[in-house]
Every structure is written in C-alpha cells, then in structure tokens.
Amino acid sequence: MVLTFKNQKITAFVILLSLLGACSSVKQRQVVAVNSVDSGAPATTTSDAPLSVPLPPVVTSLLQQAERDIDAGLYQQAEKRLQQAQRIVPAEPRVYLVWGHWAQARQRPYQAEQMYRRVLSLSSRGTSAHAAARRALEAMDIHREY
C-alpha cells in the first residue's frame, strides 16, 4: 500500500517526535582519539545500551531541513542533507527514518521499506525511531521481518 499524503504528514510528525524525544538518553557516543592512553584489549565484548542518544545538533538540524525539503518537493536537496547526516552518524536510525520518508515521497516503496528495515536493525524496541519504523512498515502493509 502506498502511503497517502496525510499519512506522510503523520510520519513526519512521528519523526519529529522521535527527534525531540531523544533527550532522555544517558549515553553519549564517544570518539576514540588518536594516541589514547588506554591501550590493551577491552575486557569483554558486550552489547551496548541501545537507548536513544542525543543527536549532535548539526544532525538534528540537517534532518529537520531534510524534512522541510521533502515537504517542499526539493528531493535532491533533501537527499544531500540526508547523506551529510549519514556521514556524521552512519549508525543513527533516525537518519534512515527520514530517508524512508524521502523514498516514500519519491514513490520508491521498495527503498522506503529497506530504509525502515535499516531503522529496525539499528534501533531496539522501546525507542521512538523503532516504533515509528514499525508503524511505517505496517502502513505499507509489510509485516515480514528479518
């Protein structure tokens, strides 16, 4: 099923909420600097907490601009901003959430589906991005999940 324009607006709203809802996070992504002193193997391999991490302000700004560009039909500009955001935070599910929206707006349902799947693969249950991607897939009548 192809989403209607109204549904797209709802998706955009959900995305905005997920962007704003990131404030409750407790963990910050940390760059490992060159010449860090703590050499030696990590003690264990662990799964890291998947809680929503605050987005760097520049990414929030890029995603919001991309949303506006999508709504205005400026798809190339929106894609460029999404690529910029992706390069900054390649494992950030919220980037792919907006990208899914972009693909839907461009009538590319398969790419949209893949982007939402990417969101699911990068986020865990309980996060707003995960929930938004699930809803988007359900709205597209896609229930199969890897």
Partner: protein, 772 residues
C-alpha cells in the same frame, strides 16, 4: 591670390598601356583575385569553425570529498593540517585572509581560527567565512562564526585530486566575460593593447610605435600585436615565425573582429592565454592561473595579484615568480605603472600595489594524479555512464568520496610498516588496501601498490588472490542463520579427517597450529580460525549453502564448487572483499560500494547524483552474532595483537586470513566508522612468510591507530538475548559460576543443555539424591 592649377596626371607609359590592354594581365588578375578569395574564405571558415564550436577540450576535474566541520566531528589536528596544506591554506599568527588559519593551545587541546575561502559545490555556494573552534580529544567543539554567515556545518572547498585529460595536458578554468574582474581587464589592456576597443583587429599605429621603440632600444622591447592577433596566434596558428604566418594572422584577426564582439574575443583570450607549466601540464587562462599561483579563485585576487598574472603573459617561464621572483616583481610593477599611466588606477593605490610582495602559494594546487589507484576506480565507475571522449573534453566536474586525510594516513601506515615486512621478502612484497565507510558504502581511500603514486597494476581492484580464512565468517554466518540448529556455543568437532573424491583426490585440512582440539564451540572455531572445525561445519552445511551466503554478502564472482572453499580457496580482490565485509559491518544490508557522489557540467549543473541504496539480504540477528564473534576475534582471538597498538576503548571486529605457504596475508576489520581491508603478497605468488596477523593486520592497525573514530557498538537485536555459558562444556550455566561467559543467542534456549557451577548437568540430581 589665384589658385594654382592642379597639375594633370601624367599619361600612362606605352608599356603600361600595353599591359592594361593585355588579356593575360586580366587572366592573372582574375586568378589572383580568385586565390585571394579562396584564401579568405578558407581562413574565414577556420576562424568561425573553431570559435563557434567547442573551443577547448576540457579535462574532467576530479575532486576529493569536501571536509565538513561541525561540533562533535572527530578530527585530529595533524590530519587537519595535512588537508589544509593540500588546499594551500597558510598557517599564520592570525587568520586574516581567506585561505589562512591559526592554531593556539587551549587547555589540553587547541583552538583554531580558519578562514574558509568562498567556493562552489554542486547546488551550493559557500561564501567566505571565518570560523573558530576547539579541538579537544580529537573532537571539534565550541564552533562559532567570527565573520560571515552563521551555520551549524561548514564545508571547505574540495581538493582537486586529478584531471582526466585528453592527449595534450592542459588545465583551464573557464570564465565568462562577466566573471573577469574589471581591474584585470584594465591592467591587461594597459599592458598588451591600449587601443583594443578602437582597432579592427590589427593596429598600424601600434606596429609603428613598437617599431620605433625597438629601433630606439636596438632590440625587441615591444610587440605590435593586438590582443586579437595574440589570440589568433595562440588559438589557430603554429609557433612558426614566418612572413606567411604573419599575413595569415593579420587576415584572421580582421575576420575575427568582423564576426565577433570585443567581449567574445576578450573572453576567449582570457581563457586561452598560456600562463605556466605544472610538470607536463600547461596552465591556460586567468581562471586556472589564479589557482596555480595564488590558490584561490580569480574573483578573490587583489590588484597586485591580477597584475602579476598580466605580467606573466610576456613570458611565463622567464617571469616565473617561483623561480625568478625579482624578474616577476619588476614586470608586475611595470604592469601596475602602465595601468596608472592609462588612468586605470590612482597614484596612491598604485604605489601601495607596487609595495606588495609577491605572495604566491609555494606548491601549485594543480594535481595531475596524486591518487592513481583511487582515480582508476573512479574512471571505471564513470565509464558505466559516460563516454571516454566526454570525460576528456567536456570539463565535467566529478565529486568523489575520497577522504584525503584517510588516504594520507593509509599511505603513512603502509610506509611505516611495509619496509619492516619487506626486509624479510627481498623488497618484493606488494600490497593492496581499501578503506570504506561503514554503512555508507563510500570508498574513502585506496592503495594499489606499496608506492602510492605508482600508476600501473592496481592490486586493490585487480589482484584476485585466495582469501584464506577471510571466508570463514561466511561459513559461520550460514550456520548462524539457522538458529534452530546453531548458536555461538554449538559444539564443533575439531578432529582431523580426510575426504576422498570420486577422481581419487584427497582433501585433509589441518589447523594452522598443527593440533587437534577435539570439540570447540562455534565461537572458538571462528575466533581462533580452526580449519578442521570450520571444514566440518562447512560439510554439514553444504557448499551450496555457503555459496548462497557469499552471494548474499555481495560476492559476485564464479565460486569454487569444492569444499576447499570453506577454508578460503576462493580468489577475490581487496575491493571485492570490501564489498563482502561491508554487508557484515552494515548489519546484513547490502550497500553497494561507490566512489562518486556527483557529476556536474563544467558550469555546475547537476548531471548525475549517485544516491545511497540499500537492501537487506541477511537476517540482522545472525549478523549480530557474527559481529559479536568477530569482536571476540579481535579481543582474544587471532586479531588480538591489534590491541598492542589500539586503545581498548576502540572496539573493533575483524578477521585474519592466511593462505597456503603464507602466499597471502589478509586482514579485514571494522570499527563503528571505517572498514579496512588489507592484502599483502607477492606478484609472483611466492611465499611471504607472513600470516594475516603478522602482516596485513600490522598495516591495518597502524592505519586505525592514526584516525579518531567511533567504536563499533553492537545493538541488541529482537529475539536475541544474552545467556551465560560454561567455557569448557559450552552448556548453559549461571553468571556466578567460575569461567562463565556471556553470549548472545538468537531464539529460545529451552532445549540447550544446562550445568551447575560444580560441572554437573542441571538435571543431574547427584548420586545421593538419586539413591534416595
């Protein structure tokens, strides 16, 4: 006073009268007129054909990615300064001009002022801007705008890394008449052709003036050619010095002026004039000359800089400001004085301009092919969409994904490690390496040879060599995709075996350490790269299953149909391995590798944007388990030596690969940001005496240690839960038990064996309880 009567003209002599009456005279005259007419028509056709057609074959310009600066960006000062040096930025005490920067210590880090030049990117114009930011712990922070438009993200101009040239190497940056600064036009006309807007192509007055000046000086000090004649000479004619060429030049100048406007002629002149040489590449036009000498766009030059460009017209080699700064200075000041004499500039500013030192960039910004291996990849990808001829003549602008900082660090890592390894190999060791962005699929750096500037065989793309144990993740992934049957604690038999094929051949895999390990867990089999256990697992799964996994991972070459494929008897290039591991690093999503972001026309109109596309090809739960095992491989398995150099906080995942007789040394590994694949070997396929760990891993580690980056963070998956296992029996146990290890499991664990801390099975009640 009566006027004197005008004397009557003398009557023609008899000879002349005879000649005028002679039919032969008219025949010769007719022939002469006809020849003249044909000559003029021929020259006219020549003039119009070239002027109205494509005037120059413009090479495609290939750019690296543009550096983006924003709060939170991982950035190391050394790396940044290397890139700024490539872009010809000058380090100063205060960043006062576009193209300069200043660094001050601040706390445990630095504070930088960076004056970014104005530049154009596809669909974007970035005006000049002065920014300030801190670098603490290799992270950008406190970004503020001191001058210019405030933004959250600033982009530097991309480094022009190469051109795709026609046979004759010429560099030019085309400018329209409107883009030529008025002071440049004035200085040019004052020096080269004062009557340009008055004459019709040739100027007898100028010729007479030049002849008189030359006569007075006793040598040639002044030329009488107009700008139009100079253009005709350079644009249409050869360098031959003959009267006939001079006649052609004069006639073509008249024709050019007859057909075209002064603005057209001046614009063409400004784009065509030869201004210098960069190796084998000729620099033409003021636009490119500006970059070549000053490292910035023509529109940003000051009057004294524009005057230097005009000064060079007379003799770019003789007045070369890099080799002969005094001559260049003298000539430039003459240009300024002539502009002053003509009233184009007032005395005071002229004096100020003459007082300016010649301030050119030390190294030309023109790069013919600094990164040959990367350019090779770019050309291959471009040829899918563009004709070779267009690439060499249409002036396309190719914006690539190359990251100069990563490329430089890859080259440095190779330069640091390879000599040590090569010493054991009679200097015949070779290498190929590919760095890509995790999840983005962007190719960021490539080495096709241990000598980075070598333009021959590109091993990163074309050296297809057996990959050894690099293939094992595909075997283990095939198993982990069947969660009903396999998990990381599943037991594998590691006792030697032999297979006899129908044709009588035998296959008997052995472990690298020559030992058998009875039963090992799936995790151990991968971590320690046990061949026997892996071969047995592969045989359980079947060759077809492993083939299917490899294909899903993006391996698109004919696959070895024999069980030896389980141990890596499969040839792939480093680039193909990168595609394979990119799918693993991207959680089971196929992300096609790409080296180009955008292609535009020479005027900046978008032609092609190479977008990001993905496809989920593998269940993310299985890939998660594999990533976990590959992290363990780095923490405590065959890749553990990397942490002798890497900080423990940089969690990475990876796999070593070694082939028979140590012919090939491989490593593929990734952090949260970068995936690196390194191959070492010899072109004659002889032994390197290196394993994946003692060879390729060293180069990879050296590279990764030089780059600030984010660690690999494993995101828990739906239906994947952590459970405690005993490390001897690999049964489920409790966290409090000695030697218990926590492993992720996809699916239910109800059917798995359990044991207590004392080693007894959890359902074993003990002899005492059983007795009762």
């Amino acid at each position: 006073m009566p006027k004197r009567k005008k004397a009557a003209s003398p009557a023609p002599s008899p000879d002349k009268r005879r000649l005028l009456r002679s039919p032969a005279f008219y025949k010769v005259l007719t022939v002469f007129v006809l020849v003249f007419f044909v000559w003029v028509v021929y020259l006219d056709a020549q003039v119009r054909y070239k002027f109205e057609g494509k005037r120059w074959a413009l090479p495609a310009q290939v750019y690296a990615r543009a550096l983006e600066i924003f709060d939170g960006r991982a950035l190391n000062l050394d790396n940044l300064e290397q890139e700024l040096a490539l872009l010809q930025y000058q380090k100063q005490n205060n960043a006062e001009r576009p193209g300069s920067y200043a660094v001050r210590p601040k706390g445990s880090g630095y504070q930088l002022d960076l004056f970014i030049r104005a530049h154009r990117l596809p669909n974007e114009v970035q005006p000049e801007v002065l920014i300030r930011f801190d670098l603490q712990g290799d992270v950008v922070g406190g970004l503020q705008t001191l001058k210019g438009q405030e933004k959250a993200l600033y982009t530097l101009e991309p480094f022009k890394m190469a051109g795709i040239y026609p046979g004759q190497k010429e560099e030019r940056e085309l400018l329209s008449y409107e883009q030529l600064p008025q002071p440049l036009i004035e200085a040019l006309l004052a020096t080269e052709d004062r009557n340009f807007f008055e004459h019709g192509g040739i100027s007898p007055l100028s010729i007479a003036r030049a002849a008189w000046a030359n006569f007075q000086a006793g040598r040639v000090v002044q030329g009488g050619s107009t700008l139009t004649q100079q253009l005709v000479k350079n644009f249409y004619l050869s360098r031959e010095r003959s009267l006939w060429r001079k006649v052609n030049e004069a006639m073509m100048s008249l024709l050019l002026e007859w057909h075209y406007s002064k603005r057209d002629i001046l614009e063409t002149y400004a784009n065509d004039i030869y201004l210098g040489q960069s190796g084998a590449t000729a620099i033409h036009g003021f636009g490119m000359g500006s970059y070549f000498y000053f490292g910035k766009a023509l529109e940003h030059l000051e009057f004294h800089e524009l005057s230097l460009l005009v000064a060079l017209i007379k003799g770019p080699s003789y007045y070369d400001p890099r080799r002969h700064p005094e001559r260049a200075l003298e000539r430039r000041n003459l240009v300024i004085s002539q502009a002053q004499d003509q009233g184009f500039i007032k005395p005071y500013p002229a004096r100020m301009a003459r007082a300016e030192a010649i301030n050119i960039v030390t190294r030309p910004r023109i790069q013919t092919n600094r990164y040959p291996a990367f350019l090779d990849l770019v050309k291959r990808q471009l040829r899918r969409d563009y004709l070779e001829q267009d690439l060499r003549s249409e002036g396309l602008k190719i914006y690539t994904t190359l990251d100069p900082q990563l490329q430089t660090n890859l080259e440095s890592a190779a330069a640091r490690v390879m000599p040590r390894l090569d010493a054991r190999n009679d200097q015949s060791l070779q290498m190929g390496a590919v760095i890509t962005g995790v999840g983005t699929g962007e190719v960021l750096a490539i080495l096709g040879d241990k000598k980075p500037r070598y333009q021959g065989f590109n091993r990163a793309l074309d050296a297809r060599r057996q990959i050894g144990s690099l293939i094992k993740p595909a075997v283990y992934l095939s198993a982990l995709m069947d969660p009903e049957k396999y998990h990381l604690a599943s037991l594998l038999n590691d006792q030697a075996f032999k297979i006899r094929f129908n044709n009588g051949d035998e296959w008997q895999p052995g472990n690298f350490d020559g030992k058998e390990h009875e039963q090992v867990s799936l995790l151990q089999g991968l971590m320690h790269s046990y061949n026997v256990a892996t071969a047995r697992l592969g045989l359980e799964l079947g060759v077809e299953t492993v083939h299917e996994t490899l294909e899903r991972l993006g391996v698109d070459v004919p696959l070895n149909p024999y069980p030896s494929i389980f141990l890596g008897a499969q040839s792939l290039s480093p680039f193909e391995v990168s595609q394979f591991y990119q799918t693993i690093a991207s959680n089971g999503f196929n992300v096609p590798l790409r080296a180009i972001r955008e292609v535009t026309t020479s005027q900046g109109e978008m032609l092609t944007r190479y977008g990001f596309e993905i496809e989920q090809v593998l269940p993310s739960q299985a890939v998660y388990l594999l990533q976990f095992a590959l992290q363990e491989t780095m923490r405590a398995g065959t890749g553990r030596s990397a942490y002798g150099r890497l900080p423990g906080a940089l969690r990475v995942a990876g796999k070593t690969g070694t082939t028979n007789d140590n012919r090939d040394s491989w490593f593929a590994g990734f952090s949260g940001d970068y995936l690196g694949v390194v191959w070492l070997g010899k072109d004659d396929n002889e032994s390197t005496r290196l394993t994946g760990s003692s060879g390729a891993l060293k180069v990879w580690t050296e590279f990764m240690a030089r780059i600030p980056q984010y660690p690999l963070v494993l995101q828990p998956r739906k239906d994947v839960n952590l459970h405690w296992f005993d490390q001897d029996s690999w049964s489920l146990t409790e966290a409090r038990c000695e030697g218990a290890i926590q492993l992720p499991v996809w699916g239910e664990v109800d059917d798995l064996p359990r044991q207590n801390c004392d080693g007894r099975a959890a359902d074993d009640k003990g002899w005492f309880k059983t007795w009762f």
